[in-house]
């Protein structure tokens, strides 16, 4: 059983005055997320990340396809007892205090009043808001609201968490705090599905990631595997500045210090480049393969041309 499984889940919106044209928001999506996994859903703005999350939460309806969460149909209201959701840039009832909000959401999620009395202060302490629990949310900063957002998503101790851009718009300190909270949930064995366009967050937290672009799933896999699939580069250091002129066309980057030259070469061009150095009688010092980054993979996938539909 997968924690999350989508089968051909797609969404298009009718547009134009007569609503006869269709704007594709999500192409048929087949995705599986394992239980206990932290899964990053990456893509640039407008890629279809939020659409996917809204579909899974039942906020919008799919044009085609279906999804299962923990083996049950995603529309089953009972499955929603086991999931928590943090929307992108969340806005909460600002006339409520943090304590009232968590109590309200706990009640809606079926948490008994005895458990809520105990869990609400515990959660406020966990997200570092104990001293402002009775303050109205309209007085909260963005970072504080995001922490309330995490707290409301876990008030009912769900098994699967959906977080939409949880670090977006936060300062470095706020991002660090939220990252720590997510890491804590990951350590507690929760399945976490989070969308982001901040690749360093995904690289730090995720077991696997998927890249989505223009509503199309472009790649999926373990972070380390994906990095290694990116056509890597090698750093070459040699002595003999005159050789750099002859082989410049194969270099993507070059720094000259006296007679020592440090250059970057595509791995596919490495043999040809070394041959040129030998011809110029340059003295080779080192060749170091550079590790591909998630960013390289992300950029390679988002720059790929869309397949031409027949």
């Amino acid at each position: 059983m997968h924690a999350i499984e989508t089968q051909g889940l797609s969404k298009d919106y009718p547009v134009g005055f007569w609503k006869k044209k269709l704007r594709l928001a999500l192409k048929p999506l087949d995705l599986q997320v394992r239980v206990g996994e932290t899964f990053g859903f990456l893509g640039p703005n407008g890629a279809g990340k939020t659409t996917t999350l809204k579909l899974l939460m039942g906020i919008i309806f799919p044009t085609k396809g279906t999804a299962r969460i923990l083996g049950r149909d995603y529309r089953d209201p009972e499955i929603k007892r086991k999931i928590g959701f943090l929307p992108e840039q969340p806005y909460f009832y600002d006339y409520l205090s943090a304590t009232e909000l968590l109590d309200y959401y706990g009640e809606l999620s079926g948490v008994s009043s005895e458990v809520r009395k105990q869990r609400v202060p515990e959660l406020l302490a966990r997200v570092g808001l104990s001293d402002v629990g009775s303050k109205q949310l309209r007085k909260f900063s963005k970072g504080m609201l995001q922490r309330v957002g995490i707290a409301q998503a876990i008030i009912h101790d769900p098994e699967v968490l959906f977080l939409d851009e949880p670090m977006s718009g936060l300062d470095p300190l706020g991002r660090h705090e939220i990252r720590e909270l997510i890491q804590g949930l990951k350590d507690a064995g929760k399945t976490i599905f989070f969308s982001t366009h901040i690749l360093s967050d995904a690289e730090a937290l995720c077991d696997r990631v998927a890249i989505i672009h223009k509503g199309d799933l472009r790649g999926i896999g373990v972070v380390n595997d994906l990095r290694s699939t990116v056509a890597g580069k090698s750093e070459v250091i040699w002595e003999g500045a005159h050789a750099a002129v002859m082989a410049r066309d194969l270099l993507t980057d070059m720094h000259i210090t006296g007679e020592t030259v440090r250059g970057t070469v595509q791995s596919s061009d490495l043999d040809r480049f070394l041959e040129k150095l030998r011809h110029q009688h340059a003295r080779l010092i080192s060749v170091t393969p550079l590790r591909g980054t998630l960013e390289d993979y992300f950029l390679s996938k988002t720059k790929e041309e869309e397949p031409v539909s027949s």
Partner: protein, 258 residues
């Protein structure tokens, strides 16, 4: 289910209670009731009649204004501010959300009406220095005003489930005005012939008949109200508001929330 419904109801009530606009309206309405004895001094011997007319009309009108102003935002605001996202991602059915909102606003109006009723009785006491049995008849008119609110809340909720707040307010207020003259529409239908008669009769039965629910003039003149009138009014308001709320649920169940 009942726990979720009551949670949404109480939260809707709490939102209205913490909204300053509501207090402004209530203070204005209470001032109007309190000033009613001054109107009465214009016509000697008519203080009580004018006080009751102005008082009950204020309760009705301000209740309707609150129903429209708060009601039009009940669903639209939740969609606009995306607070609905964190509600619908929980085991809350869409119909529970709509029905909870309905009861929440109705509860707000009932509490508001209770306070204004106390104000009206206080004004009567100040004017006449005592209350008599006939004054109890006011409660019947106030009960029917609450029945009006039941329909108004359901109507604004229906409009709010598919339209923008401004259009919802226009539609709801227009229907309130048309419904207040519901008896005239029925009379027009009775006098018409042919297709006009059919159309006018259909429209007269389709629009909410607020005229039948308005007993202000009758109780102001101490005319007794038959028990069957209260019973039929209750049944009418229950069925009409249930149908409108069901319509709101049907629309909302199918709606993609952007």
């Amino acid at each position: 289910m009942t726990s979720r419904l009551s949670a949404i109801t109480l939260n809707t009530f709490r939102e209205a209670v913490r909204d300053r606009v509501l207090y402004n309206l209530i203070v204005f309405a209470l001032l109007l009731v309190a000033s009613a004895p001054l109107f009465g001094q214009i016509s000697i011997g008519l203080e009580r009649l004018i006080l009751i007319n102005v008082g009950l009309s204020s309760i009705s009108l301000f209740g309707v204004i609150i129903a429209i102003l708060v009601g039009i935002g009940l669903v639209a605001k939740e969609i606009d501010k995306k607070t609905l996202y964190t509600i619908l991602s929980r085991p809350v059915r869409r119909w529970e959300f709509i029905v909870g909102k309905y009861f929440g606003l109705l509860l707000t109006l009932i509490v508001n009406t209770a306070f204004m009723t106390l104000g009206l009785y206080a004004a009567l006491l100040v004017t006449a220095h005592h209350l008599n049995k006939a004054d109890l008849l006011l409660l019947v008119a106030i009960y029917c005003i609450v029945l009006q609110f039941m329909i108004m809340v359901a109507m604004t909720l229906l409009f709010s489930s598919f339209s923008t707040p401004i259009f919802s307010a226009i539609f709801a207020f227009a229907l309130f005005v048309i419904g207040t003259f519901g008896e005239d529409m029925r009379n027009f239908a009775a006098m018409s012939t042919g297709v006009t008669r059919w159309l006018a009769t259909g429209a007269a039965y389709l629009i909410p008949n607020f005229a039948s629910l308005n007993l202000i003039s009758r109780v102001a003149h101490d005319q007794p109200v038959d028990g069957s009138v209260i019973l039929f009014n209750t049944l009418y308001a229950l069925l009409y508001s249930a149908a409108l709320t069901a319509g709101a649920v049907l629309v909302f169940e199918r709606r993609n929330l952007k």
